[in-house]
């Protein structure tokens, strides 16, 4: 365990130094993230401005969902996207061989090798929005609420990671479909809104097929202190199952990896 932490530190300091070569990008990312947040709030206001609500959620509640989404987006561009988008290049050029030979777990190496600071504005803005909106909605920071919220956020991160990883790892078979993660990203946009705002068919799709509900709606319920036992349990179960599935899938995929012929 300690060895993994030391390696992680070395990895991330190295990638941070490399990324800081492009400091103007930080400003651009900050403006883009903030602008995107303002745009999303504007879209929400289109619904609430005419006195309607989204699936029975209050305005503040919907803002918490948006905050969780922004936070997840930030983490996606900090860790998931920069790391997992390289799997396909490793497969195509055959450099996955070197990864597999390293004396460290290959899934860990592929998932945590780089760290891109450009998602940090999203993480900060998302956390800020969650805090503000939860306070406005009258949520109390009771220990039990905090614990539930933390658990559900971790569960949502585990699910998000597994979705990304499984899609990225499938490039072992289909080198050409690396942009499948773009499709995933565009579907996850639905997570900006409470899942109950969708018609029944889409709601089922976003709960059981692509579990967007567990990514943003369930954590937001937990933050607002009104998560029910069954949903918390379901969230935890889906999270553990998806991480185990991603692990199994990686081992399964590696059996089909035959290296790139030169």
């Amino acid at each position: 365990m300690g060895r993994y932490l030391t390696t992680l530190k070395v990895f991330w300091i190295a990638s941070l130094t490399a990324e800081l070569e492009y400091q103007a990008n930080f400003l651009i990312e900050l403006v883009a993230t903030a602008g995107n947040l303002v745009g999303s709030i504007f879209v929400l206001s289109l619904f609430y401005g005419r006195g309607q609500s989204l699936g029975g959620w209050s305005w503040e509640g919907a803002l918490v969902v948006l905050g969780v989404y922004t936070l997840l987006e930030g983490i996606t561009s900090t860790l998931l996207q920069p790391n997992l988008s390289t799997i396909v290049a490793h497969v195509r050029t055959g450099s996955l061989d070197f990864v597999l030979l390293k004396p460290i777990d290959s899934q860990f190496w592929l998932s945590a090798r780089t760290f891109s600071p450009w998602g940090l504005p999203g993480i900060a803005l998302g956390a800020g929005l969650i805090g503000y909106a939860a306070w406005k909605a009258g949520a109390t920071p009771a220990p039990l609420t905090l614990l539930g919220a933390a658990l559900m956020l971790v569960a949502s991160l585990m699910i998000l990671y597994s979705l990304w990883f499984v899609l990225a790892a499938s490039s072992i078979w289909f080198v050409k479909i690396w942009n499948a993660t773009e499709v995933l990203r565009s579907v996850l946009v639905a997570g900006r809104f409470p899942v109950s705002a969708f018609p029944a068919g889409l709601r089922a799709f976003f709960t059981f097929i692509v579990p967007v509900a567990f990514l943003t709606t369930v954590p937001a319920e937990a933050i607002l202190g009104r998560a029910s036992g069954p949903w918390l349990l379901a969230g935890g179960a889906v999270a553990i199952a998806s991480v185990v599935a991603s692990r199994w899938f990686w081992n399964f995929a590696l059996r089909f990896y035959t290296s790139a012929s030169s």
Partner: protein, 270 residues
């Protein structure tokens, strides 16, 4: 005199035919990727789900059928106005492919235009399939647009594509001075996303925001062509005039930056 003009036109037509057919063959090789890019344009359908659930309570001023037709049209228009020239150009520049292209006796921009048009042709059957699937799931929304409105919508979509291409290509010129210029496209995408009508028909925007939006080029890139296709009444002449005005504004800037950029250009790579 007429003979010379005739010869030049024939020459241009031959170049266009070769460019388009070779780019089309190239794009066909990547059709799996293009299908996925097409799928990643599902945003209008997600928004349709939200708006139609809200509409169940009534009081939107748009019927649920109108909403469904609008968002389906917005999806189709978006599919044929996607522009990615900045990313290709940046990659070509960083990999040193730009220099051999620039040596060819053909303005570089036409290579990219041909690539975009061929990519759209590759998309076409798949988009048609998705539209068919939509009507299968939601048969009540089916409609036959009249022939004039189809022609007009095609024209408006082409104009929207041209305008968006021109806009992004103008921004692309920053690549001559910076290595990571494509980050700027993220900024340009923001007003496009929220003002073009992808997330909601502009008719549902508050009066002030809508008036502001129509002073920008963005509503003409999705909202206007989509409403024409959906069979709604649109001030056609005024819209085309506005698009022409924006193009007339951007074109000289683009040409100026292109010339200065070329002078600044020093080949990248070995």
């Amino acid at each position: 005199m007429r003979g010379a003009l005739h010869q030049r036109l024939g020459h241009a037509r031959r170049i266009a035919a070769v460019l388009l057919s070779s780019q089309y063959a190239y794009m066909l090789e990547y059709r799996a990727e293009i299908v996925l890019w097409a799928l990643s344009g599902v945003l209008p359908f997600i928004m349709l789900g939200l708006w139609s659930a809200v509409d169940a309570g009534g009081g939107l001023g748009m019927s649920s059928l109108q909403l469904a037709r609008y968002f389906l049209s917005a999806f189709v228009v978006r599919q044929f106005t996607i522009v990615w020239v900045m990313y290709t150009f940046e990659e070509d520049n960083l990999n040193g492919r730009l220099s051999p292209y620039l040596l060819q006796p053909l303005p570089l921009v036409w290579r990219y235009v041909a690539a975009h048009l061929s990519e759209q042709a590759t998309r076409l059957p798949f988009v048609a399939m998705l539209v068919g699937l939509f009507f299968l799931l939601y048969p009540a929304a089916f409609w036959w647009p009249s022939l004039p409105s189809v022609l007009l919508a095609v024209l408006a979509t082409l104009a929207a594509f041209a305008l968006r291409f021109l806009m992004q290509f103008t921004l692309t010129m920053v690549c001559f001075w910076s290595e990571k210029a494509s980050a700027l496209e993220r900024l340009l995408y923001l007003p496009y996303l929220y003002l073009s009508g992808l997330v909601a028909p502009l008719a549902l925007y508050p009066e002030g925001v809508r008036a502001f939006a129509f002073w920008t080029p963005f509503p003409y890139m999705v909202d206007v062509p989509a409403r024409i296709l959906a069979g709604e009444t649109v001030p056609v002449l005024q819209s085309f005039a506005a698009m022409a005005a924006w193009a007339a504004l951007l074109l000289p800037i683009n040409l100026l930056l292109w010339r200065r950029g070329l002078r600044h250009y020093s080949a990248m790579g070995a």
